[in-house]
């Protein structure tokens, strides 16, 4: 009997079945695609984090332990690619005599580096000038001492006479922070900054200099084993983190106290796993509503056969069918639909995955993939069961043969409306939002060193309830409008229906349930598309801002250390074709108390021509206001939050900085006045820095030497212009552009291929909006086929028929559009606010992708009106056949 039933369904209702299968496939595909996105972005995060770390582990050898034994143990451990012994010695200070003057520095560090270190950890030591090995000096130390290769420096040793060495090369240490970490110490007691004064020497030289000191003061001379690992990491950063931490613990156990592991790799993966949870959250926020919408749409499609099903059920009942039998039959129907829809959905997701993310695997691991596939299929089944079995059973329970017809009785409002469920949901949503947007709440909490990440899932309630609540409220408003607003409704449809306007309005008003359902679905689909698009656009804009902040401008020309170039060099760059603006940025180091910070000198009137200054970078005024202050008061200065706290500054306070005078090379006191806070600035580091007026700085230091030229190309042909500038300037400056920076910024989500997610989401959103519009309207009209047949029989002309159908399309479009725009706007506001943690820096406002939205609206309305025309034609054509059932 079941097979017969299914065959019967296929023969008579294949249109409805097809639509239901499509709906199920859509929701499964959306979920599974997001799974693919997660898998792809997680493994990207892991590999990016792993490759950002040059020295994976720094094993600090305990004071009494034998470094060779530790090295042996390390090399004997599984998953080790390379291990090198590095020695550290504290010096009391460095000094050098150049051009008749003596420069002295404070305490520093001398490293004993083996000759094969550079090849074992490429990039850890970057040669700048002179030889790449031998006695090397860090670039900033060389600057402090005014030395170059060939010069002699003096190294102070505690309790011993100073030693003299000839410098052979100047190097840069890009990962100085981790290189000079205090291994084994908690994050809070790590040094705030790496040492300023660093000299690197071969192991033999190191032994000559410090073996005596090591014996006398073992606290000043330490040994580390630097380790590069080659173990295959799991694609999921959280799992990688756990595995790397575990491996380090194993090594420490094997060393039994002889060494402590400084786990740089785990630290990087720690950040990545945080980003991965953000990715997961993004999926929930952005993808889930889409899947729910597809499910609701499926349910709407499935319920469209209700009138017919009721009639069939009535018949079956008279033939003695039981509830059990009924459940069996509808479950069979649901199972077939769920299975077919589910597999189609997975297939679609595979295609989408390889197109948008370059992968078609459903999870970061095999287990993940299984879970994702199973979840997606279960969702497909659930949608099928909820939309087919549940209504069938409830119909069967309540139904008498006589009532097997859809009712338009002047029924009382639905229960949720009387109870005000929509208003309650909105109120709770507002409350949660208020709670979560108050100051110090974090969406993702990944305490360092703790394997578990906690995600504040509460925050989801805000947008989630807003979405549901606003959908219900839209329903309520649509019902209320259709019920009481008959005269504006009549006015609205008159252009399409002429004399029939009040009849059309009366019909819609009485069948307001059907019309309101269409309105709500169209509204929800549009608000989904709208909020997704706005969020994605805002996100992209912020990624752009982030890259621009890091690189400074489209192209940044950074002068090499020691090269003095005045602002006039800017005109040479400006003459290159494709360059629109060139803006010089002065860069100095300034002491505030004992603290050395970067100082940037800007031309406040013109700086924003080449770079963008967002208000979010500053505090105490907008970007424009603070630049105005710098212009009006040349001795004004913007400082970091921290400096304000440390020095208890209030606006207008005097702040004395010590800057190096280019003529005497001496640090002299320069007075500034505190004017505001700069949290971020193009090319500036993430920690403390100053921003001041370039002319004032140049006058005070006796030099207009430029640190960086910010070049604006208007966004056009950036690679080409970069190449031309490189060619023109040679090796005297490093030229970077925003495109390469964008790829390199952090390990954070910003650089993860959200473009893929965006494409998928926008695609689905469009599909859903068009589907909701077209399908729902067509179904609504199909449900009233009989009415349309009667109207035809009573003498309605073609134009009158289309007028009736189109007027409904117009009402659904207009109300749906209003609901979608309002709901979408609110939702994007809340999304961006709740997901602030994803953004770095936080956005100034929402960016609206007008083009996409217009397209979505156009396609949705085209679908609605197309469906109206097609069903309208079908309704009037089929009138004669319908007559048989009259």
């Amino acid at each position: 009997m079941t097979a017969t039933w299914l065959r019967g369904l296929l023969a008579r209702q294949y249109g409805r079945l097809l639509a239901a299968v499509c709906g199920i496939a859509l929701s499964v595909a959306l979920l599974a695609s997001l799974g693919v996105f997660l898998a792809a972005s997680k493994s990207t995060m892991t590999s990016r984090a792993a490759s950002s770390v040059l020295v994976d582990w720094q094993v600090k050898v305990a004071r009494d332990a034998d470094p060779l034994a530790v090295l042996d143990t390390v090399v004997g451990t599984a998953g080790i690619r390379v291990a090198r012994t590095v020695r550290f010695a504290q010096t009391t200070g460095l000094s050098a005599v150049t051009a008749g003057s003596t420069q002295t520095t404070g305490p520093g560090v001398v490293l004993g580096i083996p000759a094969n270190y550079a090849s074992a950890f490429p990039g850890e030591i970057r040669p700048l000038t002179g030889a790449g090995s031998g006695v090397l000096i860090a670039q900033q130390t060389a600057a402090n001492l005014h030395v170059a290769p060939g010069d002699t420096i003096t190294i102070g040793r505690a309790g011993l006479p100073a030693a003299h060495l000839v410098i052979q090369g100047v190097v840069d240490l890009p990962q100085a922070d981790s290189l000079f970490q205090r291994v084994g110490a908690p994050a809070a007691s790590q040094p705030a900054a790496p040492p300023d004064n660093v000299v690197l020497v071969p192991p033999g030289t190191f032994a000559d200099l410090f073996s005596q000191l090591a014996a006398a003061r073992p606290d000043l001379v330490t040994t580390q084993v630097h380790v590069g690992r080659n173990q295959q990491l799991p694609p999921d950063p959280a799992q990688s983190y756990i595995s790397v931490v575990g491996a380090a613990h194993n090594l420490e156990a094997a060393l039994s106290g002889a060494g402590v592991v400084g786990n740089n790799l785990a630290a990087a993966l720690d950040g990545a796993r945080k980003d991965a949870s953000y990715a997961q959250i993004l999926f929930l926020f952005l993808g889930f509503p889409g899947a729910v919408l597809a499910g609701v749409l499926t349910a709407a499609v499935a319920s469209a056969g209700r009138a017919r099903r009721r009639r069939e059920q009535a018949l079956m009942r008279t033939r003695g069918a039981t509830l059990r039998k009924m459940m069996l039959l509808s479950s069979a129907e649901a199972a077939v639909l769920g299975l077919v829809g589910g597999f189609l959905g997975l297939l679609l997701a595979r295609l989408v995955g390889s197109w948008a993310f370059g992968t078609s695997s459903f999870g970061a691991s095999r287990g993940d993939a299984l879970v994702w596939t199973a979840t997606a299929l279960v969702v497909g089944f659930t949608v099928a069961v909820v939309s087919i079995v549940v209504p069938a059973v409830s119909d069967f329970r309540q139904m008498t043969v006589a009532s097997a017809r859809i009712s338009v009785r002047r029924e009382s409002s639905p229960r949720w409306m009387r109870w005000g469920v929509d208003l309650v949901l909105l109120a709770v949503s507002g409350l949660v939002f208020w709670q979560t947007s108050r100051g110090d709440y974090t969406l993702v909490l990944a305490p360092e060193g703790v394997a578990a990440i906690s995600v504040n899932y509460w925050a989801f309630l805000g947008p989630g309830l807003l979405w549901i609540g606003s959908g219900l409220l839209a329903w309520r408003l649509a019902l209320t409008f259709l019920r009481y607003g008959r005269s504006p409704l009549t006015w609205l449809v008159r252009p399409l229906t002429g004399r029939l306007a009040s009849t059309a309005a009366a019909g819609m008003s009485r069948q307001r349930g059907l019309v309101a359902r269409s309105v709500v679905l169209v509204g929800l689909a549009l608000s989904f598309a709208f909020s997704t698009a706005v969020f994605n656009q805002t996100y992209r804009h912020q990624a752009e801002v982030d890259a621009r902040l890091t690189n400074g401008a489209d192209i940044a020309v950074t002068e090499s250390p020691g090269v003095v170039v005045g602002p006039e060099a800017g005109s040479a760059i400006a003459s290159i074709s494709g360059v629109r603006q060139v803006e010089p940025l002065l860069h100095r180091f300034a002491y505030v108390g004992a603290d050395l910070q970067d100082l940037f000198g800007v031309h406040p009137g013109t700086v924003s021509r080449a770079t963008s200054l967002q208000d979010a970078y500053f505090q105490g005024g907008t970007a424009a206001q603070l630049m105005g202050v710098l212009a009006a008061h040349p001795d004004a200065i913007l400082v970091s939050d921290e400096t304000v706290k440390d020095f208890q500054l209030s606006p207008g306070d005097l702040l004395n900085l010590r800057l190096q005078d280019s003529r005497t090379k001496q640090f002299t006191t320069v007075p500034f006045h505190y004017a505001g806070i700069a949290k971020e600035f193009p090319t500036a580091p993430h920690d403390s820095f100053f921003v001041a007026n370039a002319d004032y700085v140049a006058k005070a230091t006796g030099s207009g030497a430029v640190g960086t030229f910010l070049v604006d190309t208007g966004g056009a042909n950036i690679p080409g212009v970069t190449a031309q500038i490189r060619q023109a300037l040679g090796t005297s400056a490093s030229v970077t552009n925003i495109l390469t920076t964008r790829k390199a910024v952090g390990s954070s989500l910003t650089s993860v291929d959200l473009t893929g997610l965006t494409r998928v989401e926008l695609g689905f959103a469009l599909l859903l909006a068009a589907g909701a519009g077209g399908l729902v309207l067509a179904l609504g009209i199909a449900e009233r086929r009989r009415s349309f047949a009667i109207v035809t029989v009573l003498g309605a002309g073609r134009r009158q028929m289309f007028g009736l159908v189109l007027s409904e399309a117009a009402v659904v479009s207009a109300l749906g559009l209003v609901g979608g725009l309002v709901g979408g706007w609110l939702l994007s506001q809340m999304l961006v606010k709740v997901l602030t943690g994803v953004f770095d820096p936080p956005p100034e406002g929402l960016s609206t992708p007008t083009g996409y939205l217009l397209w979505t609206l156009a396609i949705t309305f085209a679908a609605i009106f197309g469906a109206a025309l097609i069903t309208g034609r079908a309704a009037s054509r089929a009138a004669v056949e319908q007559l048989r059932e009259l």
């Binding site: 338009v408 009785r409 002047r410 009415s787 009667i790």
Partner: protein, 235 residues
């Protein structure tokens, strides 16, 4: 089925004329011939019963007469109604066996609908609808929705809708099919009264002899053919 009804001026006064009309549903093996070789005419003010068992082609015949359906073979024409070969929907009105009111419109709006469709203003159409409802004694129900009506009431509203559009030919397809004898008789009363009021012809299909007996002429149908025609036309 014999001679044409020609009036004194020599004009064809038949409201609808069927000439060797056949209607086949579907094609090939599954084809069903619902009406075959039907010839006949309905003069003005006729009171015609079309009788026959279920499936004999009554409904199909009435639909062909109304112009809602086209014959596969033969011609249907409406000599006395405005355009000879165009469907004169405005002067023909039909009452159906099943519920034919629009569920979303109330009784008065349902009755007014054909008039609005014909281009009358809302006000005129509703005035006409109210007087039609008064004629069939249903003024009380004008605000009700179709689903709040009984079967007999619904059919009377359908009759009121016919009345309101003032047709010259009323076709009623088993209007009492779903009703008990008493209610059925009442609907026929109303239909006859309406036809008298409008001076229109009335064609009723039925398998109920009691209904057929109240008409003045009868076409008996069986397997798609009109077997006997008792054309006793009384003007």
């Amino acid at each position: 089925m014999s001679a044409k009804a020609i009036d004194e001026d020599g004009l064809d006064s038949a409201l609808v004329r069927l000439e060797s009309v056949a209607r086949t549903y579907g094609t090939g093996q599954s084809a069903v011939v619902a009406v075959r070789d039907a010839t006949g005419s309905v003069p003005a003010r006729a009171r015609l019963a079309v009788t026959g068992p279920s499936g004999s082609g009554k409904s199909t015949l009435l639909q062909l007469m109304s112009g809602l359906d086209r014959p596969t073979v033969g011609t249907v024409s409406w000599p006395a109604l405005a355009h000879r070969h165009l469907t004169p929907t405005r002067s023909i009105a039909m009452v159906f066996q099943g519920p034919s009111l629009i569920p979303a419109l109330n009784v008065e709006e349902n009755v007014a609908l054909p008039l609005v469709l014909a281009g009358q203003t809302d006000r005129d159409a509703h005035a006409a609808a109210r007087s039609a409802l008064a004629l069939v004694d249903l003024t009380d129900l004008s605000d009700k929705l179709p689903e709040e009506l009984s079967g007999g009431q619904s059919q009377r509203v359908a009759v009121a809708r016919v009345l309101a559009s003032r047709p010259r030919l009323i076709l009623a397809d088993e209007p009492t099919g779903h009703l008990d004898a008493v209610r059925g008789a009442h609907v026929i009363d109303v239909l006859l009264a309406a036809a008298d009021q409008l001076q229109a012809a009335l064609v009723i299909s039925t398998h109920d002899p009691a209904v057929a007996d109240r008409m003045t002429s009868r076409w008996r149908m069986s397997e798609g053919s009109i077997r006997t025609a008792q054309e006793t036309v009384r003007l």
